[in-house]
């Protein structure tokens, strides 16, 4: 099969979201589904025409031209358009002019769409799902795979979310100054979740997981292109994602059965130094203000993990950062990570004493930590903890990683 057709998938992902954003901007967010229809239809036409006649020199321009025609036709042929739609759109919308596919217009529309979709009026999972479809051009099947769900559930979730956005009369615009900070926090949080979904995903599809992470980074970069959203915390989140993503290939085992390659066993040569450099750049921009967000602390921790040599100072700083993080954003994961850092700084007995106080009997990370703490002194107990962790873990990727640990601990070489 011709190789020139192999890049079409990427082209779809890039252009789908741009066109949906621009059309929705022009006709109002309540017509988002019509925008999706028009864009899907444009791609169907492209599949036919390009399949038969070859891919044009400038595929994006071709798509924009066809989408423009289809949009005009779609809205005009609807006889009630003038009577019903125009009044709803209001005076600001430009209903007569052509769609504007200039670079600036695309960027503006995408940023506004990001705020419209990451709206706390709808559930967090639905925000991520909508972002994946509307802003990242993912297929419903891919979203279902990422969420370990099925197409019907995702379709229902997305339609409910769109219905809610209509009911709440959400517009495509940047939030007013007095609410921008809070809304930006939510957008950053959704991007953070999107990234985590990719990084710690339930799916074993490595390509898909990497794409989720790349899209999260792309959306955050979009935010840095505007003064009002290019804040220290935006850059801190970007730094955090770059540092984590730099280890993506190194932690990827050869086969999914092996789970992830754990930090200690990773081949440093596989760390992506360009991403680490970008992370450092974003982190330095993040520190140009007085505000310290949880992303700052996490980014700093992640940056320390990008240095493999273990020095006492490194672990002391990590412990200190986790202490601050705990005060700012309590979560079981932070508590457990902090105890691990405590073990590296003050030794096993102190860490173990803290861990045993928790008694989180339903948390598999808890048992993973316990196993990790005792594995050098008491193999039998470590095996018991790791097996408990395996029984409690919910995804195959995690189970595989724990299996790997059990294998290591039970091998005679240790």
């Amino acid at each position: 099969m011709s190789t020139e057709y192999e890049s079409l998938k990427q082209l779809f992902q890039q252009e789908f979201s741009k066109m949906v954003a621009v059309i929705s901007k022009q006709f109002g967010l309540q017509h988002m589904e019509t925008a999706e229809d028009i864009v899907s239809d444009t791609f169907l036409q492209a599949a036919e025409t390009w399949g038969v006649k070859g891919i044009p020199e400038n595929p994006a321009a071709w798509l924009y031209a066809v989408a423009k025609q289809k949009t005009l036709y779609q809205f005009r042929r609807n006889k009630t358009f003038e009577e019903k739609v125009v009044p709803q759109i209001g005076a600001n919308a430009n209903t007569t002019g052509e769609l504007n596919f200039s670079e600036q217009s695309i960027k503006d529309s995408q940023l506004q769409m990001l705020f419209a979709v990451c709206n706390p009026a709808i559930a967090g999972e639905a925000q991520i799902g909508l972002a994946l479809r509307i802003l990242c051009g993912f297929g419903i099947d891919e979203i279902a795979e990422a969420f370990f769900s099925n197409k019907e559930t995702i379709n229902k979730r997305l339609s409910r979310a769109k219905e809610k956005l209509r009911a709440e009369k959400v517009n495509m615009e940047l939030p007013p100054e007095n609410t921008l900070a809070g809304r930006l926090d939510n957008v950053l949080h959704i991007i953070y979740l999107l990234f985590s979904e990719g990084y710690f995903s339930k799916t074993q599809n490595q390509v898909l997981r990497k794409e989720l992470c790349a899209e999260a980074i792309r959306l955050a970069i979009l935010l840095t292109e505007y003064n009002r959203t290019n804040l220290p915390k935006t850059n801190a989140l970007l730094a955090l994602m770059c540092f984590h993503a730099s280890r993506f290939d190194a932690r990827q085992a050869c086969s999914p059965e092996e789970g992830f390659i754990l930090y200690d066993n990773q081949d440093e040569a596989l760390w992506d130094t360009e991403l680490i450099r970008r992370g450092i750049r974003f982190l330095s921009r993040a520190t140009q203000g007085s505000e310290i967000s949880s992303y700052h602390l996490e980014a700093r921790i992640a940056s320390l993990h990008c240095r493999k040599e273990d020095t006492p100072e490194k672990w002391e700083e990590i412990l200190d950062l986790y202490d601050q993080l705990l005060l700012m954003k309590y979560s079981p994961a932070v508590v457990l990570n902090r105890i691990y850092a405590l073990y590296r700084v003050n030794g096993i007995s102190e860490a173990l004493a803290e861990a045993e106080k928790l008694k989180w009997d339903n948390n598999h990370f808890y048992f993973l930590l316990l196993g990790e703490l005792v594995k050098n002194d008491d193999k039998k107990r470590a095996v018991f903890y790791f097996q408990k962790a395996m029984n409690l873990s919910k995804t195959q990727t995690e189970k595989n990683a724990i299996k790997q640990k059990l294998k290591e601990i039970q091998s005679p070489s240790l």
Partner: protein, 112 residues
Amino acid sequence: MKEFMFIFRQHDFDTRSISPDEFQKLAQKWQKWKKNIEQQGKLGSNGNRLSSEGKVLKPGGIITDGPFVEIREILGGFMMVKAEDLDEAATLAHGCPVLDINGSVEIRPLHT
């Protein structure tokens, strides 16, 4: 050899959830299907796609911007092929990717 016209029709907006993957596969399928006809030396011309804009002139000098058809179906592209008879032309139409998206191929001989 006679000339035939393939007319592709599809339901309007039947595929809201087309995915990146489906798009790529569909384009590849169109290419493969056309190549197969071409390799048999039976391709007349690539044809063209009808643009979705246009005007309709009705009795009494009424000109509208459409719709061109009243039902929710759209006329997509067309293509010319060469075949001995209608049956052979219909055979060539088999495997046309428009069928995958719930569309149809109309096969019409040309009078010469």
